[in-house]
Amino acid sequence: MDMNGEYRIPAPRQRVWEALNDPETLGRCIPGCESIQKTSDTALSAVVQAKVGPVSARFTGDVTLEDIDPPNGYTIRGEGKGGVAGFAKGTARVALADDGDGTLLTYAVEAQVGGKLAQVGARLVAGTVRKMADEFFGTFTQIVGGAPQVQSQSQPAPAAEVAPAVPAPPAAKKSWASPLTIGILVIAAILVIYFLVT
């Protein structure tokens, strides 16, 4: 599934960039995050207690940052494997640009879910990601920019065929968007869904 969108954050670009690279800020914004730490300059590891409806699961998510270009953006990459259940992996390209006295954050996520995982969990992937992203941005905007100032628009992208015989679920679109953490969120959501079939 592909997701694209943008989000306006009422804070200067440098400040948004710093927040996006600050594990403590991210930890406060990621729903259910119990701990998050940098394992190297380019890697983050988080323990998240994810609750979606009847599902309540704790998992560890690892993401790495690539193409780092401060304060303009980076690419986040994460992966999870579920053996016979399938696999989930994704990347998110995050870019920051000045927008008046605020910052315009645009993202492009490409996530792939394959195998039994995609068949069973596809129905809930997009909604789960969106919900977690909504919560993330609500908090992030409060911490970084003060008052919420949500002005976003996202574009649907055509769904991509990923796993053999299992098309990836296209993501929903709406007034939610994402920064760096969309990567973590996508991986988080995918891992939750992964638990659904394990």
């Binding site: 409806g53 009847p54 129905r123 809930l124 299992v166 929903a172 638990f195 659904l196």
Partner: protein, 264 residues
């Protein structure tokens, strides 16, 4: 499965007390979502509090223009109820379209709405018919009950005891089911009630929602033609391998028209 402590509650108060004292307890109604989730180890509650033996939570009464359905009433019982069929045929039809026979004979109305799966049928009935959800603490208007995907206005420890449906003048339910799971790809409840026209859509978005454009159009002219100029925005609707957001949006309009045509 892994170990957990099973409690059979004898009353709603006892269930609520047990829920309050247990660290990570879950209420067990029909178990049609909870048990598969536990089996997959997606949830590992320490305690299960079974509501099945509580007297008074099960049953249907029709009186004074209101259909009251106990929270533990099975879908199959609502579908087969002569009283419901006479008072609100659309509600009996909706219950009969849920899942498969096994689900209908175990699943309950209270469990369904408390879970608030985005593709569940009952939320369309609760919102579309302007029902009231009764809990052990208070009454919650149907419009305020469903707050997001898998989220409701229920507090921690609050237990649904019944749902009260005011009998509408007319109502019809359209459902386009997923052919395998029978979950609603789109479900539309259209009702002509004392308080006006109500159109509620499930399956299409992350949570059941009303369609105000359609409600306005139908208020002036209650016919399928009145919906001809109305479109449902695809923005924010669900997408999966079964249906795109655009397809679901289109189904909302088609479904509303068919429901209206059935009763206009």
């Amino acid at each position: 499965m892994y170990n957990f402590t099973y409690h059979r509650a004898g009353s709603v108060d006892a269930a609520a007390a047990k829920l309050a004292e247990s660290g990570d307890a879950k209420l067990l109604a029909g178990g049609m979502t909870l048990l598969p989730t536990m089996k997959q180890r997606l949830a590992q509650p320490s305690d299960l509090i079974d509501l099945n033996e509580i007297a008074g939570l099960n049953g249907i009464t029709v009186a004074g223009g209101t259909v009251t359905i106990g929270a533990m009433t099975r879908h199959a019982d609502v579908a087969a109820s002569a009283e419901v069929k006479q008072a609100i045929p659309a509600l009996a039809k909706l219950a009969g379209l849920i899942g498969d026979p096994a689900v209908r004979n175990r699943g309950t109305i209270g469990g369904s709405i408390a879970n608030n799966d985005p593709a569940a049928d009952y939320p369309a009935a609760v919102v579309g018919l302007g029902a009231t959800v009764v809990t052990n603490k208070r009454e919650i208007a149907g419009d305020d009950f469903f707050t997001g995907m898998f989220e409701t206005a229920l507090d921690d420890g609050e237990i649904v005891t019944a749902v009260r449906f005011p009998v509408p003048q007319k109502a019809a339910y359209f459902k386009f089911p997923n052919p395998a799971s029978r979950y609603a790809v789109v479900g539309v409840m259209v009702a002509k009630t004392a308080g006006g026209i109500r159109v509620a859509v499930t399956g299409a978005g992350p949570c059941v929602f009303r369609q105000p454009d359609m409600e306005r159009a139908l208020s002036g002219n209650f016919s399928a033609d009145a919906l001809s100029g109305i479109s449902q925005k695809a923005d924010g609707l669900n997408e999966d391998i079964h249906a795109s957001a655009e397809y679901r949006a289109s189904l909302v309009v088609v479904g509303a028209k068919r429901a209206v045509a059935e009763i206009a």
